[in-house]
């Protein structure tokens, strides 16, 4: 059947539009390609000057050995940064999905007083990014902070995951509600009539039915946690790849390719997740997103 526009336009026109679009998109592609090329070079390739450019794996070797020139004798364990980034991202992913699945179900399926208000406030705080409240959130962090130095480290992980997840919860609730809305009521009713509790119905019957939705929200939450800079630099005592790049930027020119390697390394999981789950993510994004 007919989809999109009809077969009335010429191919030339389509190629023209595509050309315009690609020309507009070129800068985005160029800067990322230059970053990746630079990470394999003895010098930055960002000026398109390849006369003295030579391919080398030195940057990557130094990166994994943790030998950042700027920090002199102090070695940076890049894998530890990777791990803490992954912990934050994984924590945010799990928490947003879990809360989203619980609350999304309640809003979609259960009649209760304040249901509308809950949904309204979820949407409102989704529209108004929680990051404007960061001063208050940090105040609470300082008040709750334990005295023991070992605990502080774990507490900071715990808190940054909660605080960052809180930013994504409204969206995940909204999306999950949408997924639950699509499920037929009859499935649920038949289980309830058979004597199952709401919780059992949720866990055993409905969750398996919205698996693709759960995966989408998980990936979405992971990418949100993975890309974060502001929350980890504000709350987390350990470094993540983001704060590592932030603080190591002022390297001398000679070491700039090393940072390009670090950035490429940081970008890699994003690209992998992104490409493998594009269709799902488009759906999530189309469901309503913030910048």
């Amino acid at each position: 059947m007919v989809t999109g526009d009809v077969e009335t336009k010429g191919r030339i026109k389509e190629i023209f539009y595509l050309g315009v679009l690609l020309a507009l998109s070129a800068p985005i592609l160029v800067v990322f390609v230059l970053l990746v090329i630079s990470s394999f070079g003895n010098q930055m390739a960002t000026n398109f000057d390849f006369s003295a450019f030579r391919f080398t794996l030195k940057n990557w070797r130094l990166l994994f050995e943790g030998r950042m020139a700027i920090t002199g004798g102090v070695r940076e364990n890049i894998w530890l940064h990777f791990l803490s980034t992954a912990v934050v991202a994984g924590g945010v992913a799990f928490l947003t999905t879990f809360v989203g699945a619980l609350t999304g179900y309640a809003i979609s399926r259960i009649k209760f007083k304040g249901r509308k208000i809950l949904l309204l406030s979820m949407l409102l705080i989704h529209a108004l990014p929680g990051s404007v409240l960061i001063v208050g959130v940090y105040f609470l962090y300082r008040v709750l902070m334990p005295q023991n130095l070992v605990f502080i480290r774990y507490f900071s992980f715990f808190y940054v995951i909660l605080a960052r997840a809180a930013l994504e919860v409204p969206l995940s609730v909204w999306l999950m509600k949408g997924f639950f809305d699509l499920l037929p009521w009859e499935t649920e009713w038949s289980a309830l009539v058979d004597g199952a509790s709401r919780f059992l119905v949720w866990r055993k019957i409905l969750l398996p039915l919205i698996k693709p939705g759960i995966v989408a929200v998980l990936i979405f939450g992971f990418l949100a946690g993975w890309q974060d800079l502001i929350y980890v630099r504000t709350f987390l005592i350990d470094r993540t790849l983001a704060t590592f790049i932030e603080s190591n930027l002022e390297t001398e020119m000679a070491y700039m390719p090393l940072l390009a390697a670090a950035a490429t390394f940081y970008l890699l999981p994003t690209i992998v997740f992104y490409i493998s789950s594009q269709q799902l993510l488009f759906k999530v994004y189309a469901g309503g997103i913030r910048r």
């Binding site: 007919v2 009809v6 077969e7 009335t8």
Partner: protein, 358 residues
Amino acid sequence: MAMVEVRRVTKTFGKVVALSNVSFTIEDGEFVVLLGPSGSGKTTLMYLIAGIYKPTSGQIFFDDVEVTKVPPKDRNVGLVFQNWALYPHMTIFENIAFPLTLKKMRLSQIKEKVLQVAQMLHIDSFLDRYPWQLSGGQQQRVAIGRALVKEPKILLFDEPLSNLDALLRLNVRAEIKKLQKDLKITSVYVTHDQAEALAIADKIVVLNNGFVVQIGTPDEVYTKPSHTFVASFLGNPPANLLEANLSTEEKIAYIGKSGLKHPAFDLLLRSGEKSFILAFRPEHATISTHPTSNSISCFVYTVEPMGREQIVTLQVDEHFFKVITSVDQKLEPGQNVYVLIDLSKILVYSSKTGERLF
């Protein structure tokens, strides 16, 4: 006003063949209905005439001028959609005027033309309303008005009545036919409703699986279906198709255990056929409780009263067929009865190809 010729047109979407080798002509001022079940390619064919699709191969002519590659806007066709496709953000006036404003016509001229069309369709009092404020029938007229306002050479209807309720459908159907006859405008009308096709068409093109099965007047298509598909698609209930076996020695066709004699069967025997499909309309048979010559012995399966008449489903061996009789005839399920077919009205089809033999 125009004549349309579709010549050996094939249309494929990827690997799917939507239409294969379709040819027919539409005379000037003729009302042609493209009839077929869903997926038969009837809408594709209409979109090809409109220019929305381009044929994969073959040609289309308007008045002997080839338009195969001409874009729709230069073909001067008017199109009425199933869901009417009225623009929700425009008033009725703006909707009807839309094709004219694209042609950059003067406003006074646009107003005059829109008013003229609106008066003809009796929608001139709604011109400043929005589509959602109108009833289905009124929206239908607006859609026709939008198609007519640019004075098209050909008017195309894509199942325009299927969004209306049953009673309204009958009225609008009659109106469309009257309008078409008054304006003498060449029209192509797509439908899957055989009753609608029979009622409205000058000529019916029956499509199935992308092939043209039969082209003819409603009467020809109904009384002399060229193929078992057409016979079983038209009529309500459609024609009965019964498998008949020929006995070479007795020169008799057997349906179940009952034998039928007809001069035509001799011809079949001479051509060496062992079996054929016997078709007859439910109204071309009578039911009797006593056996007569040439009657088929069978059992009553169900009786469905329809007011003036009743549809009797009968069973012979494992085959079922339907006969329409007067409600006065009292029949019980399971009763053994004898059906006498009007042999002058029967049709005979090949059991191999489904083509009509005579």
